[in-house]
């Protein structure tokens, strides 16, 4: 009985440690994402996006030019990292990170969520795109 209890506690602790570490990595990833997309540290692009995503975006130069097109002058772009929730995919080594996107008219009813796909590449979390918000 005691051994079973210890095993369960150890298992819970291990899961908590793993989740905690992933949670920290996820928050860090989206902090970097904010910096890249706000054109503050665009050199972090390889640390933020998966190589597959960069390729599908037409290459690094194309992706950078799209980022530079975004309006950054106000510097008021809402950071995504603080409002982030995420969970592990059910089958593959994949994560889904959700952020709430405020609506233009700021009504709660009108707001919708964006779901980012995150994968592990060379042991590091990288953004692999977004997925349609149907359900």
């Amino acid at each position: 009985m005691r051994i079973q209890l210890i095993t369960i506690i150890l298992l819970f602790s291990f899961t908590a440690v793993v989740h905690g570490s992933d949670d920290k990595s996820m928050k860090e990833l989206f902090m970097k994402y904010d910096q890249v997309m706000d054109n503050k540290k665009i050199e972090l692009i390889d640390e933020v996006f998966s190589q597959k995503f960069i390729k599908a975006s037409g290459g690094k130069e194309e992706l950078i030019s799209k980022i530079k097109e975004l309006p950054h002058s106000s510097n008021k772009s809402k950071p995504l990292a603080p409002d982030l929730t995420w969970r592990k995919g059910l089958k593959n080594e994949m994560y889904f990170a959700k952020v709430k996107e405020p609506s233009v008219n700021k009504s709660k009813k009108d707001a919708h969520e964006t779901e980012f796909m995150v994968i592990k590449e060379d042991g590091k979390l990288k953004i692999d795109g977004t997925l349609g918000d149907g359900n």
Binding site: A56, L70, K91, G132, G134, N135
Partner: protein
């Protein structure tokens, strides 16, 4: 001689907007575009999808319950396959309630303007007699008398593979029913919304993406083919019609044109 033959084939087959999938010798402008049943305006390919058979619950419905086709874009790269979308959807939900399989009933692969890949094709997704997961799980729509009867007769049931299927009362609310029950999702693989912080797959301002005539035609053909088989399918809508979302991007602006194209094949959509 060979070059001339090749040019003729390309012009009459590859770039024809009237009948992209038809063989050149089948084209005859004097004949109406409404063939006899069985109608195949577009070849719909089949995929043997993996399913979350053990754990996922799903709902069944009579095919006649469906009256609306809802257009989506996948938000993912245009080169993604239906199998990839299925794989992503198998990862969704919770461990206790995972998604059963791909949420859309039809998948359209079509290249962006000027692109060479992917190969243009239409693929079947979730079977029509299974309720999809695309319009928004908390969106309710009115039912007509036939749909009310099907609901009252207990024809919409939910359960797990190999288990009992029962009526889920939460599907109905004051004479309205969940939009997923009376609609099917038709997804165009690709991202037709502008690039932004929350849409990193989007298009650049310098190079906006619009559905090509071929894409519009494929949607029109598929929709018309469905209406010929299921005459109750009278409506084409788009994802943002049901709730606030950027989906399906610029495709939304072409819904009217798609309906006009469908009319050419003998179908009327509202």
């Amino acid at each position: 001689m060979i070059l001339a033959l090749l040019s003729w084939t390309t012009v009459s087959w590859g770039f024809s907007t009237d009948c992209f999938f038809c063989l050149p010798w089948k084209q005859d402008n004097t004949r109406p575009l409404v063939p006899e049943w069985p109608i195949e305006y577009v070849k719909i390919e089949k995929v043997d999808y993996e399913r979350n058979s053990q754990t996922a619950s799903f709902c069944r419905r009579p095919e006649d319950m469906v009256d609306t086709i809802v257009i989506h874009h996948s938000e993912t790269p245009s080169t993604d396959s239906p199998e990839r979308i299925n794989d992503l959807h198998l990862n969704r939900g919770t461990p206790a309630d995972p998604w059963y399989m791909i949420a859309y009933s039809y998948v359209v692969n079509s290249p962006y303007a000027g692109a060479l890949s992917p190969r243009a094709r239409v693929t079947e997704g979730r079977p029509l007699d299974l309720v999809g997961a695309h319009a928004g799980s908390n969106i309710f729509v009115p039912m007509d008398e036939d749909q009310k009867k099907m609901w009252k007769d207990g024809k919409i049931t939910c359960g797990k593979e190999g288990g009992d299927f029962t009526v889920d009362p939460s599907m109905e609310k004051n004479g309205t029913i969940k939009a997923n029950v009376t609609t099917i999702g038709l997804v165009v693989i690709g991202n037709y919304s502008p690039f932004s912080k929350t849409n990193p797959n989007g298009y650049s301002k310098k190079n906006p993406r619009y559905p090509t005539l071929q894409t519009q035609d494929m949607i029109a053909r598929t929709s018309c083919q469905l209406q010929k088989k299921y005459p109750r399918m009278k409506s084409i809508k788009w994802h943002s019609y049901y709730h606030s979302t950027s989906c399906p991007g610029t495709i939304k602006e072409y819904i009217g044109k798609i309906k006009t194209l469908a009319r050419k094949y003998g179908c009327e959509f509202n």
